[in-house]
């Protein structure tokens, strides 16, 4: 294993670049966050607005933070794969192999071998979603509690679902709406369109509700402690008795557990919907028919 100076330098750069975006985000947050009194539950703050056709594009905390997460993840990937060897000499390589092999197994199990190319996409979904949610641990606005961010992902997934359904033949796709009976067609269309909406709202709602409950509980706890201790003289009245420890326990559930769980659920739903909408046998039949057609055409010529 060569760990010369150059290798260490590159390692250090990667590690610094992993942490730097988060630090920058925190600094930006501290500098721009307005001092607010009392409870306020709002969406992402808007830094500036770019005029665009149809609708203006506001550049918000959510956009900035997801960009920061992406930079962090980019350097995390680079760090993990820096100095890969066949003999697995570095600890980080175990993690890299673990991630790749577990997600490969997950994709194969849920979607079949045909969709093995989806593995990096699933890694990206899980990583982006989980790390975005976990940003709330640093006191930053988690991008996943913005409907637009999660909505974009859901639209992409919907596009993938539709693409793979169309791959089995457009007629089959259209016929699928009239099943089991033609009367149910409108309901089928609604349920098809409901897929991305439900995915987006599930994820976004869980993360947002977590922050909302955290804020409400923090306020309630501070009220409770001031209620109990207000009769004490001087600074003793200001002791945040119930704010010690209890919010941390809540944070473990709402920030860490819920964030990771939602990321996993989003990825699982992606796999199930995309894999479920695609019929490999039908696709192969169609491909064979097409090949046959081309063959007969060329023979006629």
């Amino acid at each position: 294993m060569q760990t010369n100076r150059k290798f260490r330098l590159v390692d250090t750069i990667y590690l610094v670049m992993m942490v730097l975006p988060i630090v920058a985000g925190i600094v930006l947050n501290v500098l721009t966050k307005p001092v607010s009194e009392g409870v306020s539950i709002t969406g992402a703050r808007i830094f500036f607005t770019i005029p665009m056709p149809l609708q203006d594009l506001p550049v918000t905390e959510a956009q900035i933070n997801s960009a920061l997460v992406m930079i962090t993840l980019l350097f995390f990937c680079l760090y993990l794969t820096h100095g890969l060897t066949e003999k697995c000499e570095r600890k980080r390589q175990h993690l890299a192999e673990l991630i790749v092999e577990k997600v490969d197994a997950l994709v194969t199990e849920n979607m079949g071998d045909y969709f093995i190319g989806f593995a990096p996409f699933i890694i990206a979904v899980i990583a982006l979603s989980a790390f975005s949610s976990l940003l709330s641990l640093c006191g930053l606005f988690p991008p996943t509690s913005d409907i637009n961010v999660v909505g974009g992902w859901a639209v992409l997934v919907f596009g993938l679902i539709t693409y793979y359904k169309l791959k089995c033949g457009p007629l089959n796709y259209l016929k699928g709406f009239t099943e089991p009976v033609a009367v149910l067609t409108p309901i089928n269309i609604v349920s098809e369109l409901a897929t991305p909406v439900s995915m987006a709202f599930r994820h976004y709602g869980n993360v947002l509700s977590g922050s909302v409950i955290s804020v409400l509980l923090a306020t309630a706890l501070s009220g409770l402690s001031s209620l109990l201790l207000s009769w004490l003289p001087g600074f003793l009245a200001d002791i945040p008795l119930f704010q010690i420890g209890i919010p941390a326990v809540l944070s473990i559930y709402f920030d860490i557990f819920s964030g990771c769980l939602q990321a996993f659920i989003f990825a699982m739903l992606t796999m199930v919907y995309v894999g479920g909408g695609f019929d490999l046998d039908l696709y192969k039949q169609r491909k064979a028919r097409k090949a046959q057609k081309i063959k007969t055409n060329s023979m006629e010529e």
């Binding site: 721009t32 307005p34 539950i41 709002t42 969406g43 992402a44 703050r45 808007i46 830094f47 665009m52 149809l54 609708q55 203006d56 594009l57 506001p58 918000t60 959510a62 956009q63 997801s66 960009a67 992406m70 993840l73 980019l74 990937c77 680079l78 993990l80 794969t81 890969l84 060897t85 066949e86 890299a96 192999e97 991630i99 790749v100 092999e101 593995a119 990096p120 996409f121 890694i123 990206a124 979904v125 990583a127 982006l128 991008p143 913005d146 409907i147 637009n148 961010v149 999660v150 909505g151 974009g152 992902w153 639209v155 992409l156 947002l208």
Partner: protein, 170 residues
């Protein structure tokens, strides 16, 4: 500073986040997934080649073993044949020696017999002479006269002949 509402759908923001996810997909694919897969593949190949080498070495060892065994058994057979031929030669030699010895012994016995016959003849001659002398002496005494040697000889000879005939007749 302005904030968005809790729920505020913005198409451009959605597009940006969609592109973000695609971008991250490409990043993960290029910088994490593909290198790790490539490494795993090369490791697989290395392990496979190790296994192949081991297999080949094992086959080689097996072939060597068989060759040695063959050699060993052929050596055994050779040794057997050598011993057999040696035993055969030795048997032949033994026979020859025995024959030689027998022949020699026969020769010795024959010589001894011949010598014995010769001795006997000599002894017979000697006895005959003695008898002739004794009988001539006796007859001289009996007849008191000189018998001519010629007569005498004839007489004795006929006498001994008759004795010899009697002896032979027995």
């Amino acid at each position: 500073m302005q904030s968005l509402d809790i729920i505020s759908v913005n198409l451009w923001q959605m597009l940006v986040s969609l592109i973000n996810l695609l971008l991250l997909f490409l990043i993960v694919k290029k910088f994490l997934y593909n290198p790790v897969k490539k490494m795993l593949k090369s490791r697989q190949d290395a392990i496979q080649s190790d296994y192949d080498d081991a297999e080949a070495a094992k086959a080689q060892a097996e072939a060597d073993r068989q060759a040695y065994e063959e050699k060993l058994s052929s050596a055994k057979a050779e040794a057997d044949s050598i011993i057999r031929s040696a035993v055969g030669i030795a048997g032949q030699r033994e026979k020859e020696i025995l024959q030689e010895a027998n022949a020699k012994a026969d020769g010795i016995v024959r010589q001894a017999e011949a010598e014995a016959v010769l001795e006997r003849k000599k002894a017979e001659d000697a006895v005959r002479k003695e008898i002739v002398e004794v009988s001539s002496l006796l007859t001289e005494k009996v007849l008191e006269r000189e018998v001519t040697a010629e007569d005498h000889r004839q007489f004795i000879d006929s006498f001994i002949e008759s004795i010899g005939d009697d002896d032979d007749g027995n």
